[in-house]
Symmetry: C2
Subunit: 654 residues, 2 copies
């Protein structure tokens, strides 16, 4: 099963040799033809000097006079030259006769990665010299004229996919890194998928693409918002984390189907695999419920999904937050594999093992386990020690491993204390196979789930690193997680509540009565979209009653309502019921392309310290240029410097 | 001719009553049908509570059970209720029978602009009660059930197009202003045109939509860039004025057809009809020349142009900068009407009029004129005085009017000094008609052209204000302006040169030799796209040689090349020849929709002082929140305060 899929992936677009897609077009004939709504294959050589791309030439082009523009990939014996453009490689024959001396000089002397323009005839390769590994391998181009468009003077690394570069070097010379096949593929697929999403939203479902401002004002609790000084002393704009307020105001304004591929900003300092600016597919609708948004998004992903992958099956499965937590120990379960958390508390209701008894007597006390397939084979004794140490240190909880040599012979420190009927009940619940390892732990429900959820993922990585096939790399496992709590206790002061997501989220209709008596118990109409264990989207039905919104802000969250007076006023002016969602485009593209990092699906990403390593942004600005903004730099105090500032160091950035 | 066009405009989409476009669809039958690539009409009621929009109901829906969601527009005699959504208006019949008391209560008591959901049957209006002015005027909906979704509590102004509001009020309550027919039309047309542009670029011509960073570093001379403090003491990002550097680096990276609907930033303080953030259609291509870009853009506008307007004729006419200046006195001529500037210097080569003789003896001295059609009829004596005063004060130049009562009787202070052969020659050159006014002035070429260019527009406005039909409101007159100078003398120090556009613009191939001897004479490969006298786009072929770029930056512009070392390095790594363009989307949409201001084609614009009047951005931020950015507010000195700060005042913002 896995092998078949892996082979399929290998033969699919993601790993295809250059030039497989899109299919060849007869560019020369179509040049100048601008309008043709019916054309499905884009014209790649309109308006430019070339007649064809390097990668598109096939036997069907034999005899054609073509002009190509590209980079010199390599040269052999001063006879063969391989020319590259984004579309692929093509072999070019350097003329050897006396009359073509100037052409030969150009093509033989230009350094690798120089840019040339050549014109010539598409001919067959001599029998036996075809290259079946190369999409253009049946033909070559016999050059008549050549022009050196730009000579390549320096090259910090070779433009070959097999040449390994540090990510720092790649980011410093991003313009060269972009020439790699993988970056070309990633950025082109991103563009295509976003275009399909736009078609689905605009053309099929009447959504309106509306740009909202990024120079806005700080939102209550918006601690992670960059500030932008204005020319008015002491006044600042703020770069918003999302167009949340604007999209709700658009609904009040009767623009009842809004979307935007929105640039968002979040200043989190140094965080791996986060970017200070990122992109979300931002959507809002009026007169919609949770199901409506979910069906819309399922259709959107189905429509935009790359054709070379298995189609997306809809509707996506759905799971409550409570179920996700108790079964997977997280609100973003990776449902590509099992190893679910099993509650085995009932087995031990009458146990004589003291520590288990103690736990069960506490509120929310539970005993839970996960079963690791073939764990005795793949996990080493050292792994188990690391796991137990992690549990003790991070969760203050003990994890007991049970090694199943055979079903009747459990090898575990606790085995001897477990009665036979308990063993049978455990086998019924956990369904272990020979050579599995059971990890068992006892403690408070949420904490125990969270611990086992982490161990589940940790063990999955270990098993795969040791060669087990656990997660099908061609599988995209979507999941809706719903019924989140509306509020959570504040971390720094657990007596107070804060929004689990944001203060505009509507309460679950069944729980509205609890808002005034036990707000901590209220579930919300928030929904998350999870793909392969990553949260790729989230949204909610919003509060559309000004009264309710005011109560939530003022009475429950103790926020300064003045900061949001414009939104409260708007809700009082005939705001329709509405809801929406935002998909994280960078994360989604990272999963779709199988990239190692979101930086590989962004043209010019920042390092994890927020630096542009190519241009050296951010940079110093002379004090006099700050004068019009009425700000001056205050050197940080020692303690602040330690806490916040990033010091220059020779360590890698990424 | 004008009348026909004006009538056509009246009957076209721009001024059509609500609900004309798009054509009705049978929403109820299609609900749930998500995928259909062939469908051309968007489904407007998928995924939501309604079965149909208010505006789409016609006789073809008779007998159907429908559910509508909308705003109460008005109510008559507690029997008729007109419901509105973005798509149009529909009349709803409030049931009068006893059993429907609760429905009646809801619909009769809800204030205007409340949001309701009603279900009922589409029926014919009684004979004689049809309303032909209303697209849904043949039918009405007999309501069975109704639900009040949200009651409208307050309303600062009525949501009726004929109710005049100040722009300040409109901006303060933008969410209500957006409900107006015109704002809905403007934003929807903007979304549709941008979508068509994307189809043209992505689907027809293989462009790749690539997002570039907005947190960047200050560019040399980028005095108008907002700064964004980072968490590193003294280091700032900068919000770029355009993705110029990034798009060039993408070309170096082999992404040879880039476009982006790019958010750009420019901090110009208070400027009417400018926005601190704005949007451009940003395009760059490799292996392209000026003609290639021009044909691409002509095709783009032709493809995206609204169907209810006259199609765009291509190719657009082209004019050199020199010709534009000498014929229209500006680099963005409004070519919808004549009144061209005519050089009449030769007529007066042998004149005895001393002041003319003096001017002609100076370098670049010229005598020029424009002829104002029916000026004697439409222009008042006071107008002429204003014109002469303007010329004297702003240009230190005298303007002489000649009133043509009849061809043989010129009424002018200079008439008596003009010899008959000169008069005949003037008539041949200026082709004046009876009742025209000729404005004649003498001075240095550029200044004289500039003055007459301004008077030409001023007089055109005057003529139109007095009732003359000069510019066809249905006419869209595109024009390329080319062959700009590459450098201009610096205003503050005319001995030095600065880039006429930006330092990456390539010199005209015919003028490259002058770069090293007389750079001020070099023409560039810059091109502007002008529509009806407004610049809506500009671009150039770029310098792709590192050596040439270095020479321009260091030797001619005296810039610090270190700031651009990454770009110079990139050009040395095999940069292809490339060029591009950016279209100002806000300005373009303003012209297409005929809006009074670019603020009318932007959902949430800033006031001309850069304020968001709705949320009150920019706003004060507590000093402690600025600490992590190591900045503090410095109160401006008195002189700086006078120069830069904007003081709060009760005056209108816009």
């Amino acid at each position: 099963m896995y092998l078949r899929r892996a082979l399929k992936l290998l033969s699919s677009g993601l790993l295809t040799p250059v030039g497989k897609t899109p299919p060849p077009t007869c560019a020369a004939l179509r040049r100048g033809l601008v309008l043709s709504a019916r054309r499905r294959t884009p014209e790649l050589s309109s308006f430019v000097a070339r007649t064809n791309t390097c990668g598109e030439l096939r036997s069907s082009h034999l005899g054609q006079e073509v002009t190509l523009c590209g980079w010199i990939q390599y040269r052999r014996q001063n006879i063969f030259l391989v020319l590259r453009d984004f579309h692929g490689l093509v072999q070019v024959i350097i003329p050897q006769d006396e009359s073509a001396a100037s052409v030969r000089k150009i093509l033989c002397e230009a350094p690798v990665e120089s840019v040339v323009q050549v014109s010539g005839t598409v001919i067959s390769r001599p029998p036996g010299q075809e290259n079946p590994k190369m999409p253009t391998g049946e033909i070559e181009v016999k050059v008549k004229t050549a022009e050196l468009l730009n000579s390549c003077k320096k090259l910090p690394f070779e433009i070959k996919d097999f040449v390994k570069k540090t990510e720092n070097l790649r980011l410093q010379y991003r313009y060269l890194d972009l020439r790699s096949f993988q970056m070309q593929q990633n950025l082109r697929l991103r563009s295509q998928m976003v275009m399909k999403m736009r078609e689905y939203l605009c053309n099929l479902h009447g959504f309106v693409d509306i740009e909202t401002p990024t120079l806005f004002k700080k939102t209550p609790g918006g601690a992670k918002e960059f500030v932008v000084p204005s020319r008015e002393p002491g006044k600042f704009y703020s770069l918003p984390q999302s167009p949340q307020q604007f999209k709700q105001l658009l609904m009040v304004g009767g623009l009842d189907r809004y979307f935007q591929v929105a640039r968002c900003y979040r200043d989190e300092g140094s965080r791996p695999d986060r970017q200070p600016e990122f992109t979300q597919i931002d959507i809002e609708m009026s007169f919609v419920d949770q199901t409506g948004i979910q069906r819309l998004i399922e259709g959107l992903l189905q429509y935009a999904w790359p054709k070379d992958k298995d189609p997306v099956a809809v509707p996506f499965p759905s799971m409550t937050f409570a179920e996700a937590l108790s079964t997977y120990g997280t609100d973003k379960p990776d449902t590509r594999f099992g190893m679910k958390i099993i509650d085995i508390s009932d087995v031990f209701r009458n146990t004589k093992i003291g520590i288990l008894q103690d736990v069960l007597n506490k509120p929310q006390g539970t005993i839970k386990a996960i079963c690791i397939p073939e764990g005795t084979k793949y996990l080493k004794r050292k792994d188990i020690e690391t796991i137990r140490k992690f549990a003790a240190e991070q969760f203050n909880q003990e994890v007991l491993p049970v090694f199943l040599k055979t079903n009747s012979n459990w090898n575990s420190p606790v085995a001897k204390s477990i009665m036979e009927e308990q063993t049978l009940e455990l086998i019924r619940l956990l369904e272990p196979q020979e050579e599995d390892v059971i990890l068992l732990t006892a403690g408070e429900h949420t904490k125990t789930c969270s611990l086992l959820g982490k161990l589940r993922l940790e063990c999955a990585d270990l098993l795969e690193a040791r060669g087990m096939v656990l997660r099908d790399p061609a599988l995209f496992s979507f999941l809706w997680v719903v019924d989140f709590p509306l509020f959570l206790p504040k971390e720094e002061s657990p007596g107070e509540l804060e929004s689990a997501h944001h203060p505009f989220t509507a309460p679950h209709p069944s729980d509205i009565h609890l808002l005034y008596s036990a707000p901590e118990k209220v579930r919300s109409q928030h929904y998350d979209l999870v793909l392969n264990g990553s949260e790729i989207g989230g949204g909610s039905i919003r509060i559309h009653s000004a009264e309710l919104q005011h109560y939530v802000l003022a009475a429950i969250l103790k926020e300064d309502v003045k900061m949001l007076s414009h939104l409260l006023q708007a809700l009082d002016c005939g705001a329709p019921p509405h809801g929406g969602i935002a998909l994280g485009l960078d994360r989604l593209m990272c999963l779709v392309t199988g990239a190692a990092s979101i930086r590989d699906v962004i043209a010019f990403p920042k390092s994890f310290r927020g630096h542009d390593l190519m241009s050296n942004a951010p940079d110093h600005i002379p004090a006099e240029e700050l004068e019009i903004y009425h700000i001056q730099v205050s050197r940080p105090t020692d303690s602040a410097a330690k806490k916040d500032s990033v010091t220059h160091s020779p360590q890698p950035e990424c």
